[in-house]
Symmetry: C2
Subunit: 372 residues, 2 copies
């Protein structure tokens, strides 16, 4: 049964690597396509294809002969996936789901059409276009496509900032008064079974819009957490999702919950589920796309996930710092094994578990000192 299925992942980064980690538990055969021959996944499969997931021809060729295709990045060729579906390959999440989400404008329009609260946003065609919205500044400018990890997002504080703004189709969002950022990961299978993980709190680093650390569970009032979960379930059902979806949300100063962004794939707000939950988000994705029962999403203990970004200090003294980190009890290192290093690049994460949130936070402080 499971061992005879041929499964493909578009994208071969660390998310794909963690997906293979859990595919091993089910004895699955995983093929991977990534445009970087040195992508982390390339080492962990006998079936690696070096090609661009945005290429129609490459995705079509990759998918033929597979039973199921999924993604670990949104920037993939939708037309090829639709053609593969016609040929009988199962594509989860569906090409329609990926398409509506991969463009931040259509994503927002979809959410609004479903009555989901979002930060108001304005479609922008080019830099010049921005000048007519000077009165709307300050605002958050997001490229419609291909953003990730803070790339493709910038704040425009004054009209003077427009001169260096993105010059491509984007969305200009109202800057909302944010008290907290949270995320809920929701899974849904073809049978319509839906399961949510507990909401987590996310803290982003200053100017870079890259997740700094994440706490699970989020320490927020029950009512807000329930609302967040209800929104995630509503979106999963509206999309007729098969797979998993990360729903990033803002909690505003007046305790409103607004949906910020969607990701129809494993997400770094769910890394902690590997160690802290009964079923990891990666196993859950595999269960969902294979038509298996969804797993229990219960959280065993408090956890904190800390992203590891490349720094000069880390680069200069990597061996000693990672050794020290590994000596901290309850610190679970995930080192992505990326070739080369660029300051600011995400090179790993560490999930810290413990019996109380206080002990977890204390360990995180120790680890941050080690890494800096």
């Amino acid at each position: 049964m499971l061992e005879n299925l041929k499964i493909g992942i578009l994208g071969g980064g660390q998310l794909g690597g963690m997906l293979i980690r859990h595919a091993i538990d089910l004895g699955l055969h995983i093929s991977v396509m990534d445009k970087d021959a040195n992508a982390p996944c390339a080492r962990y499969t006998s079936s690696f294809t070096c090609a661009d997931p945005k290429s129609y021809e490459a995705v079509l060729a990759f998918g033929q002969g597979l039973d199921v295709i999924t993604i670990e990045m949104e920037a993939v060729n939708i037309d090829a996936l639709r053609e593969l579906e016609k040929q009988g390959v199962r594509v989860f999440p569906s090409p329609d789901t990926i398409k509506v989400i991969q463009d931040k404008l259509t994503q927002k329009q979809f959410l609004q059409s479903q009555g989901i609260p979002v930060a108001p946003g304005q479609a922008i065609e080019s830099r010049d276009d921005l000048y007519q919205y000077e009165s709307k500044l300050p605002g958050c400018l997001k490229k419609r496509r291909n953003g990730y990890d803070g790339y493709g997002v910038m704040v425009l504080r004054t009209p003077a900032d427009i001169a260096t703004a993105f010059d491509e189709p984007s969305v200009l969002e109202e800057l909302v008064d944010i008290k907290h950022e949270i995320a809920v990961i929701v899974a849904r299978n073809e049978q319509g079974e839906v399961k949510c993980y507990d909401a987590v709190a996310m803290v982003f680093s200053g100017e870079k819009f890259i997740l700094d650390f994440q706490l699970a569970p989020a320490q927020l009032p029950e009512g807000i957490l329930k609302e967040a979960t209800a929104l995630a379930e509503k979106i999963a059902n509206a999309l007729q999702l098969v797979g998993i979806l990360a729903v990033e949300m803002f909690v505003t100063k007046d305790d409103k919950v607004l949906v910020n962004e969607l990701a129809p794939r494993p997400h770094n707000s769910g890394h902690h589920t590997i160690e802290a939950s009964t079923t990891s988000q990666y196993e859950q994705l595999l269960r969902a796309i294979l038509g298996l029962p969804l797993g229990d999403t219960g959280l065993h203990f408090p956890s904190l996930m800390l992203n590891i970004l490349e720094t000069a200090a880390l680069s200069a003294n990597r061996q000693e710092k990672l050794r020290s980190l590994l000596a901290v009890d309850g610190a679970h290192l995930h080192w992505y094994g990326k070739k080369g290093s660029r300051i600011g690049r995400k090179v790993g994460h560490v999930t810290i578990t413990g019996n109380t949130m206080e002990s977890v936070v204390a360990k995180a402080e120790t680890i941050r000192k080690i890494l800096n």
Copy 2:
């Protein structure tokens, strides 16, 4: 650092697969050699070599260019490993450790030389040789080499059984009066740091000597558990072990602890450490052989590991049975993805976790009914 290390595993079965699962966490590049082109690991690495780990030439060729070699089976060519060591490849556990353990006679002699209590045994050269030990029956006959999962072990109850006994170098052991079988996994690194996991209880299936299920922690008096741990540590230090070692032990009717067998590699008595312990035995092995600090071996919750053997019932109705199993909360399936099926073959395991041993045992009973 970690991403530039080239690590090799001799043997590509499910133990190797679980080791790769944890190698992904450290971003390691893993090469695998197995004589079966369809070995489970073949799918999970870009560097698979189909060759026999008992071949001098094959092991030598495989190891050249690697930084570190380890094993997931004992039946490997020691001379090649020694030559690779001379050439600067690090081999853990050491060839000496593997050599003394891969032969059940030298293993027992080593244990006796260290004052470790064992079941008394007699070297046997061939079937004919057994007739002079008729008075020692009933006894347990174990092939000196290449035994695994109950293969290579048989009980001789009466002299009449000799006619169908193994006709090769073996050890004839006294049948001791066993109350419990337990195992302790111990890890040791080059710096001499030693850490033990809690002792687990093992229950074997009737005539086949194959592990049926395992409970962690073993529900035995503190004194016995302490003695078991002390023996495991003593053996690891005596071997100057670098890696992990499973120490299988008998607890006799009069509460003596005897060492039964050693395995200097990941072992099915430690599968539960993936879900139930802070650090899995697989991560611990990687830490040990890479000179990293050993991880915390604490057990988070009670667990039961149930081996899944191929049966006619499972083979006939695999999809439905595995689906039902996956619907049990806290049941963690590990399906080995072996090609082909043979009745009695180990095709997977399931680790069940819960808040109490009673709830874990109840879930295990449910799962056993599903699988039968």
